[in-house]
Symmetry: C2
Subunit: 336 residues, 2 copies
Amino acid sequence: MNDPALNTPSAAPSLAKLTALVADDLAKVNQTIIQYVKSDVALIEQLATHLIAAGGKRLRPSLTLATSQLLGYEGDRHIMLAACIEFIHSATLLHDDVVDASELRRGEATANALWGNEASVLVGDFLLSRAFQMMVDDGSIDVLRTLADASATIAAGEVKQLSLKGRIDAPMQDYFDVIQAKTATLFAAACELSAIAAGKNEDRENMRQFGMSLGMAFQLIDDALDYSGDASTLGKTIGDDLREGKATYPLLMAYQRANDDDKKFLQQVFEFSDKNTTDILIRIQEIFAKTQAISATVDCASGYLSKAKKAVDIYSDCYAKTALLDTLDFCVSRSA
Amino acid sequence: MNDPALNTPSAAPSLAKLTALVADDLAKVNQTIIQYVKSDVALIEQLATHLIAAGGKRLRPSLTLATSQLLGYEGDRHIMLAACIEFIHSATLLHDDVVDASELRRGEATANALWGNEASVLVGDFLLSRAFQMMVDDGSIDVLRTLADASATIAAGEVKQLSLKGRIDAPMQDYFDVIQAKTATLFAAACELSAIAAGKNEDRENMRQFGMSLGMAFQLIDDALDYSGDASTLGKTIGDDLREGKATYPLLMAYQRANDDDKKFLQQVFEFSDKNTTDILIRIQEIFAKTQAISATVDCASGYLSKAKKAVDIYSDCYAKTALLDTLDFCVSRSA
């Protein structure tokens, strides 16, 4: 793991070092997840297994594991805490998909599409409650406070996003408030937990800032990616946020910078977003090109990236630090 | 409060003594609720205020307050804990109404009818998370464990109820499992919290049993009331559970005791429960009368009532004890 050759920066940013760094611990996290998802109620296990076992990048729990290594933590509390983070994330996804009426996630049928909204709402509640049971098993009131606060902030952020639905003229600050609450807060908590587990109170704020900045950058790029893609497959792969009436950074920026004609067009499209055709999406991409909305979004993400780098830079060089720096670069340069 | 004249049993069971006993504390609970429901996000405050401020009987938090007095607790932790119980209950109601697609509760429009399912799901998440923040403010890991366990059990019970939907031949034990999890567990926790707050570990199990038995009786009577009512207003006031495909004690009992013809009729009605007419509901009431399904339900509730009484009987006579005994009688004899 600590082979100095591995500490050189990678040519193309990837999660390879993060994956290698946390592989052993992540296997234990997966065991813990399987153990805590067990229930006498068959439907809970089926649905939760579909959701959690299906996987995805496991980026958030991996951050808990990687920052624990950065801080030199040698116990095993970080395994349970990383599993907690994944449970809270999964509960949020289940309820998000109900709220957005999504039918696909990561190319797979969503739980609400397979089992119905009712089961998704209730199993989401179960996973959130189970996460709190796991925190109680861990026994730290600091952990409980961090994740209870995060959980309330996430829900409040989701409600705020809902109340901004369809508002293409919303102030940019509202967008930042929403993504900080609904996305960056859990990244921040995932990293802060390591400092708590390691008993390093002096690192809590720094780890929190690292996770928060990374989370902001991650969501900004996510929102940019929603508008990227090939024109020939436009209808399929881009514009979900537009259809759901979510005014994200690229759209808000394009609207602010657009000329009066384009402003009017964007406003109309956004109000009747369920009627988007490929023609409309192509004109939107043209407006995005004129206003440089996507590159503005990437620039904004890069600003957060720099903040996150500063938070990691204070630590001595080690494999965990390199893996985290690679992760930052990957999150901003990724194309999916 | 401790006027001995008030300690005589009431003629007609009512909540009058419970109400008098907890009035001052309940006013403080309401203040605490208002304080913790505050949010920068206007929609959260609107929806939560509609739900929580609208009130209802506040039976669960009143149990925390009354049992605290029974145990001679003199601090003020029970105020926050009672508010926690109401938050968890409210979160459950919000999600229940989404799952059942209910439009009315206590004769008022439900939150999902007014603000949509999306807001109800997310504000429910917020209230549950806020409850955990309140527990963290209280600072007791025993409280956190009790309510995290309760919360997971409630969600699991709701999922189990969902998977039993439409099964008129479900084993009676499944029904008991469901109501214990989804209803009685929160009553049990509401009462156990008093013993935790009072630092009386020796009373925890007894308080828990008291709340659990009361909760079972309460839900059985609720399920009986769903089938009671005047034939002329049948369609409006009864049979919600039937329409939602919930096989509760009275229906399961009627089905088990019915002759083959009636069994077949009940089975068919239940499978196509959205088509119920007044004629059908009248025949169902006739079958209920023949099989004595309602009185069997009340008998079953009375059994739990006796258990709950035993749990309170061990305490010295006092106003709180009388109020709790009255509450038991009221819960089984109530007609709404």
